[in-house]
Symmetry: C2
Subunit: 96 residues, 2 copies
DNA sequence: TATCTATTTAGAATTATTTCGAAATAGGAG
DNA sequence: CTCCTATTTCGAAATAATTCTAAATAGATA
């Protein structure tokens, strides 16, 4: 997926919370959903599908469970993109 | 502003293009708008206001012009946030 | 096979974002 | 003071994102 979709996925605080959950350990969809008592399982599934489309997580099916885990490599691309905006010539503020 | 607003601001490709423009040099709102022939000046002003609320750019008023320039420091915060998801224990994929 | 559990998909309602044209603001020029 | 230029704000229309319930899917178990 493209950079826009990745950033959009990360822009949502509930999806960021999901990333933190699967960072610690591989989890089933239902275990993730149970961390969000105010969301339906269908809504959590929707958010997970966005994270998966953005390659931020991967899924593995086993028995009738779906396991999700983090894919850390995409974050390195984001870091590279951000780095072009940091540190470059501290630019003394010239008068207009 | 919060992290969500910052990421949401960056998630839009037109706003990212604006960031690249003001990275090179401080520009007036009208100069930025002229890089987007398919957008009205009002729309560009709206996007710039989002970037400003996210502290990704700063504005300076002089005569009846408004100058925008990049604020690189926010990108360092994004990099720090992303770094927590990279490199941590390459995690051999265990069987389920 | 019939049924149960885990999860996703479909469809609809709600809310948020993007965009425009028109009007408002602000400062400079005549 | 009056007009002009640069930019933003307002209000409305179009588009996209989020959420739900209900139905569908898939695999396990009795």
């Amino acid at each position: 997926m493209g950079f826009s979709e990745t950033m959009k996925a990360i822009a949502d605080p509930q999806r960021r919370e999901m990333l933190l959950l699967v960072k610690k350990q591989r989890l089933r969809a239902g275990e993730i959903a149970s961390h969000f008592p105010n969301l339906s399982a269908a809504t959590v599934s929707y958010h997970l599908s966005l994270l998966k489309k953005a390659s931020l997580i991967t899924e593995t099916k086993y028995k009738n469970f779906v396991y999700y885990e983090l894919n850390g490599s995409v974050f390195e691309e984001i870091i590279l993109w951000c780095a072009q905006f940091t540190g470059e010539t501290p630019k003394p503020p010239k008068p207009l």
